[in-house]
């Protein structure tokens, strides 16, 4: 019988360790690209796009007016989405609201008889300034980053504050 050095791996210990290390190598080599693939959208910057909304000279003071604007849907899709924006004029001040509710992102609409923005899903209410005044919405109605050239309104596919 050969003397066994306790510092050396036995045949069995080598087998156990080798099996575990092989499994770990496979798991890591598969796991890294898969997890990277899954979380890559979190680190992708959305491409900034400016779009013309239209001529807003006809928008009456103090009455939200709906326009539609077309933005890319993102990723590989070339087809674009129509989105609703509400233009609210108050003297010289023009605000451009999205109709995305800050509660669950349902499509908010201006209700002239209530004189409020109403969310059809869970009853969120916003006043004409976009302030969340009733129901579950936790934040004011989001506003688009915009600029006005003459009487033509342009918006960027980005809100002034994240929702």
């Amino acid at each position: 019988m050969a003397h066994r050095d306790p510092r050396r791996l036995s045949r069995r210990q080598f087998g156990v360790l080798g099996t575990q290390v092989s499994g770990a190598v496979v798991a890591v080599l598969l796991g890294i690209p898969i997890i990277g693939f899954l979380i890559s959208p979190l680190f992708r910057q959305q491409q900034a796009v400016w779009r013309k909304v239209g001529d807003i000279s006809g928008v009456p003071d103090g009455e939200p007016t709906k326009f539609e604007v077309t933005f890319p849907q993102g990723a590989w899709t070339t087809a674009e989405n129509n989105l609703a924006v509400y233009v609210v004029k108050n003297g010289d001040n023009t605000r451009v609201f999205s109709n995305v509710c800050t509660h669950m992102q349902c499509p908010v609409r201006w209700d002239g008889s209530l004189h409020q923005f109403l969310c059809p899903c869970h009853g969120g209410l916003y006043d004409i300034n976009g302030a969340n005044v009733g129901g579950p919405p936790p934040k004011p109605l989001p506003q688009y980053v915009h600029r006005i050239e003459g009487t033509t309104l342009f918006v960027e596919n980005r809100f002034t504050e994240e929702i």
């Binding site: 539609e68 087809a79 609703a84 349902c106 499509p107 899903c121 936790p138």
Partner: protein
């Protein structure tokens, strides 16, 4: 059987042991009483298999893309009567599956069947229930009509209220900040591959555990067993053939409960299973042909006159979204998560040997209140959305 055929069968059996596999599979002893209640489990399985089969065939046409998904289903609706029935069966058997799996769970809850040694039968069952709900919710995204689109928007937005990492989870599911092409691709992949890849092995585990421990029916089923424990002399269950003891075998065991009378799984249980499952499939088929699967107008993010209405199984959560005030929105995540955790913990909380539902008020009363809470939320939600 002809001699050649028998020889071929012997040849096959020598290589696969098919004979003993079949014998084990078909001639399991099952309790005589309560047998109709057990059909809920097999009906759940049949409805899930119906989902699998119709789902596989729907992928032969459906295109999971924001520009094509609605178009492909609209083509199905306009030009393919049989394909429309397949889609109708997929939808209606999903609806009925949610009912039946719920009843199956309630039955198990009532009869205390989750008690030792069947804790993991229950735990795998809760897992299957959650996965089936996941299938229902992800499936609702796919047609990309108005209903599907706004369901996708709201459902993927709910995890955004997770503290700290909420918007990351939302972006992980959506594949972007907003619902778009990657949302549909991911949800399709989750619906047809990811969840089924977990669901079907878990069904295997659930059935293997069922066979290991045997059926456990209602309290009534085991009255005799109780009496014998209390000293009245009732003979223990006469198994019709020698079987490995599937029940806690020794009458001295505190949890001992064996059926008074058993019979073979095949054909005595399978005929009852068959009748119930076939009746459900007939109902599904009629609904699929008569009502079919609806397809609303194509998704329109710019709408300001469409009122999103959730799927009926989503109504309790939707009503919570209405009722929970803005400071407490994360409750909408906490309540369902807590509910599932409580369900998972149930067999480890209610551990006593008592199986009679009327002697277990500590679980029956909270259970009844939980069911009542969900029912009331559903009624409130339907009242609000459909002006009932």
């Amino acid at each position: 059987m002809g001699r050649r055929l028998r020889a071929a069968y012997d040849w096959f059996d020598e290589r696969t042991a098919i004979r003993s596999l079949l014998r084990k599979g078909l001639y399991e002893a099952v309790p005589v009483r309560g047998a109709w209640f057990y059909t809920l489990g097999s009906a759940t399985l049949v409805l899930i298999l119906l989902q699998l089969i119709t789902g596989i065939f729907l992928t032969l046409l459906f295109v999971p893309s924001v520009t094509e998904a609605w178009q492909s289903l609209n083509y199905l609706k306009e030009h393919d009567a049989f394909g429309s029935i397949v889609r109708g069966i997929h939808l209606w058997s999903a609806y009925i599956l949610l009912f039946v799996i719920g009843l199956h769970m309630v039955r198990t809850f009532f009869s205390g069947s989750y008690k030792r040694p069947r804790e993991l039968n229950w735990v795998t069952g809760v897992g299957l229930f959650v996965l089936v709900l996941g299938m229902a919710i992800t499936g609702a995204f796919l047609p990309w009509d108005q209903a599907a689109y706004w369901t996708a928007v709201v459902v993927t937005n709910i995890p955004a209220y997770t503290p700290f990492i909420g918007s990351f989870i939302r972006a992980l599911w959506r594949g972007a900040d907003t619902v778009g092409p990657i949302t549909l691709s991911r949800t399709f992949g989750i619906h047809v591959w990811l969840l089924p890849a977990i669901l079907f092995p878990l069904i295997g585990a659930h059935l293997a555990l069922l066979r290991k421990h045997g059926e456990f029916g209602s309290y009534i089923n085991y009255r005799g067993a109780y009496r014998s424990r209390e000293g009245v002399d009732v003979p223990p269950a006469p198994a019709q053939r020698p079987i490995e003891p599937p029940y806690p075998a020794a009458p001295s065991d505190e949890l001992w409960a064996a059926p008074l009378e058993t019979e073979d799984f095949y054909p005595h249980q399978t005929v009852k299973d068959g009748i119930i499952s076939a009746a459900l499939v007939v109902v599904v088929f009629v609904l699929a042909v008569v009502i079919g699967a609806p397809l609303e107008a194509i998704a329109d993010p710019a709408t300001t006159n469409y009122t999103p209405v959730p799927e009926w199984f989503f109504l309790p959560l939707d009503e919570l979204l209405v009722l929970v005030p803005q400071q407490l929105i994360p409750l909408v995540l906490v309540l369902p998560t807590g509910g599932v955790l409580l369900l998972l913990a149930l067999p480890f909380i209610d551990r006593g040997p008592e199986r009679n539902p009327f002697e277990r008020p500590a679980v029956m009363v909270p259970g009844a209140f939980a069911v009542l809470f969900v029912v009331i939320l559903t009624l409130l939600g339907s009242g609000r959305l459909f002006n009932l």
